[in-house]
């Protein structure tokens, strides 16, 4: 299923990574932010929404990253380069991520920054939308978000262009041994 997901997600310009443990994923995140130049500077901020991943790793490592904040305002998110959040499910047949995004922070970090990094427990992988809809509960989740690749448009002369209002890049990080909700 993972391979199918990867093919489909990459088909819509998402970047897909997979790690065995939360520590490895943490290492990736830190390197990634360094590489992209996350810093305490407008347009270069990193923002991260609260998520189970944070309790599986040494939070201090992330807190040590300059420019990355957990305390969110819409303005900070709007001026951020990288937004990080954890999502709940993935749908293999379309390469889609699904998230109970009722908490506003999850949405701010995934809509406003230029790059969205989505963490997901590999156990959250499902075959398709019917399987996810069977588990997602609209009674408790007032905002269910599905994300397939970065923001795109073809409104000018039908030319596909990435990154209109939402992120220009979607970086997906699968973690096999994350524990947590799934």
């Amino acid at each position: 299923m993972f391979e199918e997901f990867k093919t489909k997600a990459e088909g819509v310009s998402a970047e897909v990574h997979r790690f065995g443990s939360a520590e490895e994923a943490l290492g990736f995140l830190v390197d990634f932010m360094a590489k992209e130049g996350v810093a305490e500077q407008e347009g270069q901020y990193g923002v991260m929404a609260d998520c189970p991943f944070l309790s599986s790793v040494d939070r201090a490592v992330l807190e040590g990253v300059e420019g990355l904040s957990f305390d969110l305002s819409r303005d900070r998110a709007a001026k951020a380069l990288v937004g990080i959040s954890q999502v709940d499910w993935a749908m293999a047949d379309t390469g889609t991520l699904v998230q109970d995004a009722t908490a506003i922070d999850k949405r701010l970090v995934s809509t406003l920054p230029t790059i969205h990094v989505a963490l997901i427990a590999t156990s959250g992988l499902r075959a398709d939308m019917p399987s996810v809809l069977a588990e997602a509960d609209p009674q408790t989740a007032n905002y269910i978000a599905m994300i397939t690749g970065p923001s795109r448009t073809a409104d000018i002369e039908r030319v596909l262009t990435i990154g209109v209002h939402g992120p220009e890049r979607l970086v997906i990080v699968f973690i096999d041994e994350l524990g947590g909700i799934n």
Partner: protein, 716 residues
């Protein structure tokens, strides 16, 4: 037809950007759509969607109640309104109560339908469309030309001009750069907006949820950043179950933009926290605006199965020539014609319904399984019923309804037409009601001797095992009797005796396609009586339009008119009816008819007649017959796109019919095949006439003529 309407068509046809963009898009769309649906059983999927939406349409009130109950339980404010005025007032009231100064909107047809933006702007509120296409249109002061791609008619140069004015800086027409400009311009608008307005692609009654589908991410911001969110949802978007989201979203992106799924799907099921620690105010407006009236109409209820994917526009040979603006300000294309007739009034669709050439291409791809051309025909019928026909039409159909007079006139036409034919098979002008059909096409001469006079002179072998009643139809009877002769010869060889009841007359299609159902019913009765009078195994026709009349439309006409008496006989006739190629293929398969072996007849290309392919689903038998006969079938580009004939369409809208024909001729010529075959005498008339004027020298033939030469025992 209104003069302004004709002018708008003219403008569209001369807008090279528009026709170029739409033409290119429609070609790419076909390929991409097929790819997106790979491995998916489309028929099963659309049956699921049609069933669940059809079921919802039968229970609109209950579903509205259920939605309201469940949504309110979650803290959503639900407002139900029939009237667009009420919807506008409600939104303004909410805005006023909350001191709203600026609004961001994500794309919503429902708000277009009620002309919300100008109303709010007049009240002094800033309204910003945030979908890129919608924003371009808004800045340009235009209306959308396509339901999914509102600005498809504009070039990047036009967009850069508009944006340049907006940002007060000369911009290049580099598309990624223009998109960046939009992103930067929109951001502050999103961040300062006090209210977000969206539509809704699906509304789920059992959970009070609204699902939104976008690619740009603007709906996520519209529903996240402002403190108030109002979703305006047409009640046809209601479904009962949460699980119904999956099949609809399996089809919608694939059909709309050939994507497996759009970048974003947002399912809002109640108020959510805002970033200042408060809670969002969520309003859902369930808008009826005549949708319940549609649901109460046994025929039009089906139109509520629409999921607004716009694929009916993308495959429509007319839409791709004229674009959306010709159709009016809101809904466009085939389904738009139907929606305009209801949301506005029947009269508003008077001109635009005439744009449909009844090719059926849209019906084939509609994920809501809506018989779009059928419903447009019904609009036509009701218009005629309400308003009556023009005097000219009336006199024509009075003639058509009286076989003796009608056939008498056709015979007279053969004499009158003679001086113009100059010994060729073409005349430039046909007398009487086919007059004016000239642009880019020569017309056949009325035959000196109609098939009905030739038939008694044909000697058929004795003791043949089966019998077929031949229904010739006007074109074969009076213009192409040689096709009828060829058919008799072939069937005889296959052991079938051909009967030709004299009482047969026009199949009623011309009347029906003009909304004159009473005339069509009269034709149907005459034909049923004539064709069933003789004992036979089959009723065969070599004209797909006639075959469809016999097989489907007699029944449909009686049903529309509520005439039950003739239905059993109409069904009996339908059960016996077969198109020429299917019957001959059957005879060949059964070993009763043998085609000459080992012939090498060279390249041929095949044009699919709309009715044969889409209503009768018989696109393969003629190809198989031609291949068996020794032709090498080379498919042309867009082999199944209409040739622009469509009966009287060529008279009413020659400016549209002509470019469609030209495109067809080009596609035929591009194959470099010296012969093009087809199964419809109407298409032969259109394409042969076009080729004659074009001078390309491609031989245009009915399959019956080609097969007749290749049966064992034939001397030619």
């Amino acid at each position: 037809m209104q003069k302004e309407f004709k002018q708008s068509i003219d403008r569209a046809l001369h807008n090279a950007n528009l026709t170029g963009a739409l033409g290119k898009f429609s070609e790419a769309y076909k390929v991409n759509r097929a790819k997106a649906y790979e491995g998916i059983d489309f028929e099963a999927l659309r049956t699921t969607i049609a069933d669940l939406k059809g079921d919802a349409a039968s229970h609109i009130d209950e579903l509205c109640d259920l939605f309201q109950k469940n949504a309110e339980a979650k803290g959503t404010k639900v407002f139900r309104a029939n009237d667009p005025e009420k919807v506008r007032e409600y939104i303004l009231k909410v805005a006023r109560e909350n001191g709203v100064k600026s609004i961001v909107k994500s794309k919503s047809m429902a708000t277009e339908e009620i002309h919300l933006n100008p109303y709010l702007e007049k009240a002094g509120i800033e309204v910003n469309e945030t979908d890129l296409g919608e924003w371009i249109i808004q800045l340009a002061g235009q209306t959308p030309s396509h339901m999914v791609m509102p600005a498809i008619h504009m070039t990047k140069e036009e967009v850069s001009d508009i944006f340049s004015k907006e940002v007060d800086e000369r911009l290049s027409s580099d598309i990624p750069r223009l998109v960046k400009v939009a992103r930067n311009e929109m951001r502050p608008k999103f961040l300062r907006a006090d209210m977000g307005i969206s539509g809704g692609n699906i509304a789920v009654a059992e959970t009070g949820s609204v699902a939104l589908v976008t690619n740009e991410g603007n709906a996520r911001m519209v529903t996240t950043l402002p403190k108030i969110h109002i979703a305006v949802v047409g009640v046809e978007k209601l479904v009962e179950k949460f699980s119904s989201i999956a099949p609809i979203l399996k089809a919608l992106p694939r059909s709309a933009t050939a994507q497996l799924l759009t970048s974003y799907v947002t399912i809002v099921s109640g108020p959510t926290p805002t970033d200042d620690g408060g809670m969002k105010e969520l309003h859902v407006i369930l808008m009826d605006n005549h949708r319940s009236d549609m649901a109460a109409d046994p025929l039009f209820k089906e139109a509520l199965q629409c999921i607004r994917c716009a694929s009916c526009l993308n495959v429509c040979p007319i839409f791709r020539l004229v674009g959306g603006h010709v159709f009016g300000k809101v809904y466009t294309g085939g389904i738009g014609t139907i929606l305009t007739a209801w949301h506005d009034e029947l009269k508003s669709s008077e001109d635009i319904q005439g744009l449909c050439i009844q090719c059926g291409a849209c019906k084939d791809v509609c994920p809501g399984k809506i018989d779009i051309p059928g419903l447009i025909m019904e609009i036509r019928r009701r218009l005629v019923k309400d308003k009556g026909m023009s005097m000219v039409q009336k006199s024509i159909f009075t003639v058509v309804n009286n076989r003796r007079v009608f056939h008498g006139m056709l015979r007279a036409a053969s004499v009158a037409g003679k001086p113009f034919t100059k010994g060729t098979k073409f005349i430039r002008h046909l007398p009487m009601f086919l007059a004016d059909l000239t642009d880019g096409r020569s017309l056949p001469a009325i035959a000196a001797k109609p098939f009905r006079d030739i038939f008694p002179t044909i000697e058929q072998p004795k003791g043949l095992q089966e019998k077929a009643v031949f229904y010739a139809g006007c074109l074969i009877d009076f213009a192409y009797p040689e096709m009828g002769e060829a058919l008799v010869k072939i069937l005889n060889k296959g052991g079938v005796e051909v009967l030709f009841p004299e009482g047969q007359t026009c199949c009623g299609a011309p009347a029906r396609y003009n909304g004159a159902y009473e005339t069509a019913a009269g034709n149907a009765v005459d034909n049923i009586d004539a064709l069933l009078a003789e004992e036979a195994d089959y009723v065969v026709s070599a004209c797909p339009t006639c075959t469809v009349a016999l097989d489907h439309e007699f029944i449909a006409t009686f049903e529309s008119l509520g005439r039950k008496k003739y239905l059993p006989k109409a069904r009996e006739l339908a059960a016996k009816t077969m198109d020429f190629s299917t019957l001959v293929k059957k005879l060949v398969d059964e070993g009763r008819l043998t085609l000459k072996e080992g012939e090498q007849l060279g390249k041929i290309t095949y044009h699919d007649s709309c009715h044969l392919k889409r209503t009768l689903k018989a696109d393969q038998p003629p190809r198989e017959l031609l291949t068996k006969a020794g032709y090498e079938v080379t498919e042309m580009f867009e082999c199944d796109i209409c040739c622009g004939m469509g009966g009287s369409y060529t008279v009413k809208l020659p400016e549209i019919s002509a470019p469609i024909l030209q495109r067809k001729l080009k596609n035929i010529k591009d194959t470099e095949a010296p012969v093009v075959a087809m199964d419809c005498p109407g298409c032969v008339m259109q394409i042969r006439g076009g080729m004659d004027q074009d001078g390309a020298g491609v031989d245009v033939r009915h399959t019956v003529e080609l097969i007749a030469k290749q049966i064992v025992g034939s001397l030619e």
